[in-house]
């Protein structure tokens, strides 16, 4: 496998030290928490001068983007403090979408143009206003128009940002019923009447009117040219 499977005896002092430094680097890099000397020593062979090796390693990384730091009597690699401005440890961490949001998004993707009442009908539960807002804020869902039915409910659809995020060229790339079944996502024991809609692309559907000026509000940016 490697030169290091030979016994360290065959190495001269310099080579042996380098080999041990490499092992320390790998151990410290892969460790989830800072390591004590006692934890590292078994990997280095008998009589390894662990403290000296750690001091050498610390010296080598002193001016790098990553430093070897001491935490109590334990050691760890940490990104250099002066580069801390890069590590924006604020709330911008990405979080996974909630199940409700994922489901709503999926229904909008497949069933668009779809009204809120229709989404609720498929899901069987009321959809919180917050869920749709969240999906619109994420830039994945937009208001498309209004259904030409009593009450003229707003219809929802997906955005170019949605296609972009999920790596789709077009809505027609969404897998159909056979593909979902083939991938094991849908069971094969669905009733014969089970159907999946073909998502309509961003052009307005027959029974759909464009949004009027009053609808747009601050959502203008979302409504790409149909």
């Amino acid at each position: 496998m490697s030169a290091f499977e030979t016994e360290p005896d065959s190495l001269d002092a310099g080579e042996l030290a380098e080999r041990r430094l490499r092992i320390l680097e790998a151990l410290l890099f892969a460790a989830a928490t800072p390591l004590s000397v006692a934890e590292m020593a078994p990997y280095l062979g008998e009589d390894a001068p662990v403290d000296l090796l750690l001091a050498e390693l610390r010296h080598r990384y002193r001016s790098r983007g990553v430093n070897l730091v001491r935490r109590g009597d334990r050691w760890a690699f940490r990104t250099a403090e002066d580069l801390g401005f890069l590590l924006r440890r604020d709330e911008t961490e990405t979080r996974p979408l909630s199940r409700a949001a994922l489901e709503t998004l999926a229904i909008i993707a497949y069933h668009q143009p779809v009204t809120r009442a229709e989404i609720e009908d498929v899901r069987g539960v009321a959809t919180g206003k917050g869920t749709l807002d969240l999906l619109m804020d994420a830039g994945w869902v937009r208001m498309r128009g209004r259904r030409r039915t009593p009450g003229r409910p707003v219809t929802y659809g997906t955005t170019v940002g949605f296609l972009d995020h999920f790596g789709l060229e077009a809505l027609s790339d969404l897998p159909g019923i056979e593909e979902l079944r083939g991938a094991g996502l849908l069971s094969s024991r669905l009733p014969p009447g089970f159907q999946m809609p073909l998502p309509l692309d961003s052009v307005l559907a027959e029974e759909e009117d464009p949004l009027d000026a009053g609808d747009m509000g601050e959502r203008l940016g979302d409504a790409e040219p149909g």
Partner: protein
């Protein structure tokens, strides 16, 4: 990777009147069984005697049938195809046309065996590579850096599709019916026909082979009905040709050489 057992699975004889499914669990389908058989020939796949291999396979199926064991349809379809291949190899030009396709069929089987074996080897090499989380480790204590400019939320296409599928399935009324495999669906029959006649442009007396290798009488009826209906459908779609020399004579089918473009 678990190597398939090299020894034959010799099940105990079932009691009188009892039907038992052979546990072919150690084989991943008929092609795998063939590959295993070919290993017993102890020759390079390129020098393999396809005729001998076909005979061994058919012999195996016979043994299973003598023991009154039922085999999955896949194995029987392969048996039917091999029986046909054998007939073409032993009596060249015996069928209703003059194409020397016995050799072609043999070459094709050889190709599939070689390709499957190659993928087996590739899988073994892949799984023995140094793998992340075992031999190679990533950063143990990653520090959250907002690297990407993409937004607050993260979800993959897979997450999305899974959510949709689960969601839709939840809405489906569940009536559990145990699957009774006594009927060949039209789709199954269609798959079987297309696999059987494959790329061959020869006339294949399909039912003759199906009859021989489908053991249970009640399955024979549904098989005949379904394959017949499916063959009519395939003919209607312009994918195969059908011919029958005499009334009640065997029905021959073959692949249409240039299929009509699908409307």
């Amino acid at each position: 990777m678990t190597e398939p057992s090299t020894g034959w699975l010799v099940p105990e004889s079932p009691d009188e009147g009892e039907v038992m499914y052979v546990d072919l669990g150690s084989y991943e389908g008929p092609l795998d069984l063939l590959l295993e058989l070919s290993r017993k020939q102890k020759v390079d796949l390129a020098k393999l005697s396809i005729l001998a291999l076909a005979e061994q396979y058919l012999e195996f199926i016979e043994t299973m049938r003598e023991r009154r064991l039922e085999l999955a349809a896949d194995y029987l379809v392969m048996a039917a195809w091999l029986a046909y291949l054998k007939s073409r190899l032993m009596v060249p030009g015996a069928a209703s046309d003059d194409q020397p396709s016995g050799e072609m069929m043999a070459a094709l089987l050889q190709f599939r065996l070689k390709r499957l074996e190659a993928m087996r080897t590739a899988a073994a090499r892949l799984v023995n590579l140094p793998r992340l989380g075992r031999e190679v480790l990533g950063r143990g204590a990653p520090e959250p850096i907002e690297v990407a400019r993409h937004g607050l939320w993260d979800a993959s296409l897979y997450d999305l599709l899974k959510a949709y599928a689960l969601q839709r399935e939840r809405g489906v009324p569940r009536e559990y019916q145990p699957l009774a495999r006594t009927v060949w669906s039209l789709q199954e029959a269609r798959d079987i026909i297309t696999r059987l006649i494959g790329g061959s442009a020869d006339w294949v007396p399909l039912e003759t082979y199906l009859d021989r290798y489908l053991t249970a009488p009640e399955q024979r009826r549904t098989a005949t009905a379904s394959t017949f209906a499916s063959s009519l459908e395939l003919a209607r779609q312009g994918l195969i040709d059908l011919t029958q020399a005499t009334s009640f004579g065997p029905l021959y089918m073959r692949r249409r050489v240039t299929p009509r473009s699908t409307e």
